[in-house]
Amino acid sequence: MNLFFLVGIGGAVGFLSGLFGVGGGFLLTPLLIFSGVPSPVAVASVTGQVAAASTSGALSYYRRGGIDLHLAMYLILASTIGAMAGVATFSALRSAGQLDLFISVSYLLLLGFVGTLMMVEAVRTMMRRRQGIVTPDRLPSQHSWMHGLPMRIRFKKSRLYISVLPVLAIGVFIGWVGALLGVGGGFILVPALVYLLRVPGNVVIGTSLLQVVAMMCVTTILQALTSQSVDIMLAFCLMVGGTIGAQFGASAGKYLRGDQLRALLALLVLAVAIRFGLTLVLPPSDPFSMAVLAGGLPQ
């Protein structure tokens, strides 16, 4: 793999992640896989890059007081358990030879679903704007069925008094998906926090970023321990490109409106989903493939 190619790809994805305010793992992992990096290595190495990309964001939110540490702690604990399950699933699928299939199908479903939702929402906002209807950002309602669950805990910063069960469930799911697919899960976590838990807007992004950093650190160590497919050189090239690209992306993002950004991101997400769909449906150029299971250690 070419060093400049890796820094470049990290930079390009970093630009997009800065532009759209997402971690970028869900773009970077597919890009690496499509450019020939074996999917186990891509998934395991991108986790390091996502941690790096989210660290600077998390720090700046922390300085501004935009993180609910109490809520983040519960999410991190749960996602650590989820990540362990995810890494175990990863190893099992890998030895069964079904990891590629699983990754393709998961990306197709996840990105297809999220991309469609974002697209619908962005187009609706754009049409309203064109009709001249000013819609204030909807305030989340104060009650949902979630509030009927037991084991309620008060999260002061988020001004929430909710059951801990949905918080833990979300954490476990994000951890599992993140470890399996090499994504931070910010693009699932943020909507989940906003729409399911009704976390107020001023702490959503910061809390989500902190959770992503912590979970990606745990996942990187777990992958290094179990699958040994973390490539530190690959990860470092991506980190350098990604963190620099993100700064330029963030400045570029100021020139676009929110709904335009979301529509562009939705297009991108859908394009990746379609690409995964094609690999599943189109006949492969070579039906046979091979992989190394073990061996070749230095003597």
């Binding site: 660290t55 290094a224 963190t243 006949p283 190394v292 070749g296 250690l297 003597q299």
Partner: protein, 248 residues
């Protein structure tokens, strides 16, 4: 040149019997550095007369290079309900990561099939003998695995690679691709006359990563926890540094 003289000196000390083979490799170790893009080794050999005092050709030489062994799996994708997925696989235990057959002529002209099979010269035989399956399935996956290894440059057949310098002396160039596996490489040389094996000789060289690459690779295998922690610290450090440098 020094090695050549050594080879000639060894000629005098050759034990009495049929013909014997003396040969030497240009390197006993290949180091992989960060700019490594493959390597070429030279091998020189000479066929020496035995007790009968005759070493008359024409001889044919087959050099077989076997890289470090690995467990490898070959899989096939088939379409089920419109979705392509891996549906069958065969594992190959102790399968060479690199395999080259370099000879002084067409293999089927040099040696009959039973001799080639006896010394497992052909790459297909390497696959067949290590396949953890039987019958048609093993045969099919063996052929496909050898084809894929060939396409990636890890299996090489070179039927005009042995150059005769005289009737009894020859030279071979061994090409290693840029992505060779670390470890010990065996070099087997078979000398054939009238389609029968006259003598054989095995020597070896090792390939290892040097410097930082080797350090990183060994660390990832022997100290995975530390390796993971370093990776995490690197990530946090890079992120923090970027935040400081590009403070908004």
């Amino acid at each position: 040149m020094k090695r050549w003289l050594l080879a000639l000196l060894m000629l005098a000390a050759a034990p009495a019997a049929a013909e014997t083979l003396v040969s030497t490799l240009s390197n006993s170790q290949v180091l992989i550095t960060s700019s490594f893009d493959g390597a070429t080794l030279s091998m020189f050999g000479s066929i020496e007369p035995g007790a009968e005092g005759t070493a008359e050709g024409p001889y044919n030489i087959v050099v077989v290079i076997t890289g470090p062994l690995q467990s490898r799996v070959a899989r096939i994708k088939t379409s089920n309900y419109g979705i392509w997925s891996n549906t069958d696989q065969v594992t190959f235990q102790h399968f060479p990561s690199f395999y080259a057959v370099i000879s002084s002529g067409k293999l089927d002209a040099i040696a009959p099939p039973d001799v080639l099979a006896q010394y497992t010269v052909l790459p297909e035989d390497q696959a067949r003998t290590t396949a953890q399956a039987t019958g048609l399935k093993a045969e099919r996956f063996s052929l496909e695995l050898v084809r894929m290894m060939g396409e990636e440059g890890h299996f090489v057949m070179q039927e005009d690679g042995v150059r005769f310098l005289s009737n009894n002396a020859y030279a071979v160039n061994l090409q290693l691709p840029s992505d060779v596996v670390n470890g010990r490489f065996l070099v087997r040389t078979l000398v054939l006359k009238n389609q029968q094996l006259v003598t054989e000789r095995t020597e070896s060289f090792s390939v290892r990563k040097s410097g930082f690459e080797n350090f990183v690779f060994v660390a990832s295998r022997q100290q995975p926890l530390l390796y993971g922690i370093v990776c995490v610290l690197l990530a946090l450090g890079t992120g923090w540094l970027a935040g400081v440098v590009f403070k908004r």
